[in-house]
Symmetry: C2
């Protein structure tokens, strides 16, 4: 399956297939230097394939720590200095092989090396179906996630689904949160469809049929980012569940999607309060628990800490915290939400979990 962005210029293909890596050569023939930047866990599990690639393209190879651990300023500095020690020219292509963090990190290196070189995303996780598309790149600050970065488009996204076979289940549900979020942003039918296709941990861990939902998720995301690349308006919708989710992720150091799912429940509670909705919170809690999300961790959280973190969210404006809320399934809006409602939604979330 192949998609293509539809910007006015500088478009890039998104290939979502098993054995997609075999097509990589089409996109890197014109470069003087190729550098593979590889998540260490992916490297351990796929060493022969990656060594083959390195040899085939006479590529430099940099193996980086798994996950968010790589997205620090110290590691950014040491890696960009390492790249510069290769005496690269601008005719260089960096290839990110790993999950979202690898892509974010490599993309930020590409955006800032010699004032910008090309890069290609080779996502290896379900979560990265989301992060590899759309050109958001960056690293973390001590003040919060992704606060240092850029908008910088890849030259291609080569999503080889073979990689998913070695994902631990905890990574599967982390990624599924964004797939599910894309269904929430589409319509009720998409939501019903995905919930009935993956009713529980058994079905989700098999990954049977996931290709279709990954493709649909990317399609939903593309529809939005083509309208608003730099997140001035509708792209904010993709932050559904993320205002609270990022704060939870930063506090508990749990996988991104686990925190986003918690953020999605929280959003439904806030929406109930603001719109006088009647979202069935227990349905979501029950469904997410049946998939294995660690919702009980919520009890460890302190609201004031989360609030301080939410105040740093990039969507905020003069009025304070801005959240994406669903007016109905498939109908997101961005709303200012004040302290009292945020606080009472948190209390309500805790009481739902005690039931």
């Amino acid at each position: 399956m192949k998609l293509e962005t539809t910007y006015q210029s500088n478009n890039y293909p998104i290939i979502v297939e098993h054995h997609a890596l075999e097509q990589l050569h089409k996109y890197i023939d014109s470069y003087k230097d190729i550098v593979l930047i590889i998540d260490e866990t992916v490297y351990q599990q796929w060493e022969p394939s990656i060594k083959f690639l390195s040899a085939e393209y006479e590529a430099h190879q940099i193996i980086i720590p798994s996950g968010e651990a790589t997205k620090t300023m110290a590691f950014y500095e040491s890696t960009i200095e390492q790249l510069l020690s290769y005496q690269l020219t601008r005719k260089t292509c960096l290839i990110a092989i790993g999950g979202g963090a690898t892509g974010d990190f490599t993309g930020f290196l590409a955006a800032t090396l010699l004032r910008g070189v090309d890069f290609i995303q080779v996502p290896t996780t379900i979560l990265a179906h989301d992060s590899s598309v759309g050109g958001k790149v960056g690293i973390n600050s001590k003040h919060g996630k992704n606060l240092i970065g850029a908008f910088y488009r890849p030259k291609a996204v080569i999503y080889d689904l073979d990689f998913l076979s070695t994902l631990p289940y905890s990574e599967v549900i982390s990624g599924y949160a964004e797939v599910y979020k894309h269904a929430l942003l589409t319509n009720q039918q998409a939501l019903d469809e995905i919930e009935s296709h993956f009713p529980d941990q058994n079905s989700l861990s098999s990954l049977k049929g996931i290709d279709y939902y990954l493709f649909k998720g990317i399609e939903t995301k593309l529809n939005i980012i083509i309208q608003d690349e730099k997140e001035a308006n509708v792209r904010k919708y993709l932050n559904l569940g993320h205002t609270f989710g990022h704060a939870v992720e930063y506090t508990l150091k749990i996988p991104h999607g686990h925190a986003v799912m918690i953020g999605i429940i929280y959003q439904f509670i806030v929406a109930n309060k603001i719109f006088n909705h009647n979202n069935d919170i227990n349905h979501y809690i029950k469904y997410f628990e049946s998939l294995g999300y660690p919702l009980s961790l919520i009890k460890k959280l302190d609201f004031e800490d989360l609030y301080t973190l939410m105040l740093k969210d990039k969507k905020n404006d003069q009025n304070g915290i801005q959240m994406v809320l669903l007016e109905s399934i498939g109908q997101p809006v961005v709303k200012h939400v004040d302290y009292e409602i945020l606080y009472s939604a948190f209390t309500s979330l805790l009481s739902h979990l005690k039931k």
Copy 2:
């Protein structure tokens, strides 16, 4: 005097006037937060004016080391973390008040803070007539100058010529190198005009009539960068004198323009060898010495060290070192130059200085 870029979109004004700062308010009314980032020397000399600005716009104020000392990764990290501690939103404008280094550094902060916020250049030196226009921003690597950075346009360039009155003469000639380079890229008439207007240190130190040449220099630069923002082709011409110049600057730690003038002489010698030209090297040496450029420093240089640095130049490609050479005044080309010619041009430069 006012110029405006003519890109397809996201254009910005360039105001070149005495008291131009009085117009700043027009460009910053719509922001939630304003942060002034000020070179410490400029701050010392213009403290009352800058305090007035800070108060008027309720701006945060960050004072940074003068010159290239600020363009380190360590200082980039501490400053971006400081900015993030203010809990800024994307509706923030950074204002760079200082020379080229202040602008490069502030622009790189703006390019990477929250994936990009706006910034305005307020250049305070002659050199910065060049660097403040064109959107090149960045910091230095241990492998060379400006190797970490981005192309990122300012929202406006407010060039208040009042600042020039406190420039030490060493800074005047550093900036004059780029003004002179712009004349070299224009035509013989422009070159004759500027040489006769500023025949010696006396005339140049008075700065009389400099406005006109600054304006002309910016015009020449705009003509080029509008055609090629990302330096894929003609923008490389602006690197006239810089291949050798950057290597000299990095080695001797002398002001940028002093090194560029040395690079310009070197370029004429290389052009003589490659094109069988008959550029009058002694004319340039004599003229630059009469203006006070420290050409005798060249004798301290070791060619192999310079060659290693030149190999890291961003213009290089598969074939090695690429230099901008003048086929004639106003007619630059980019040429591959091999080791033997570079070496013999260096020997020739030394022998010219002994005369």
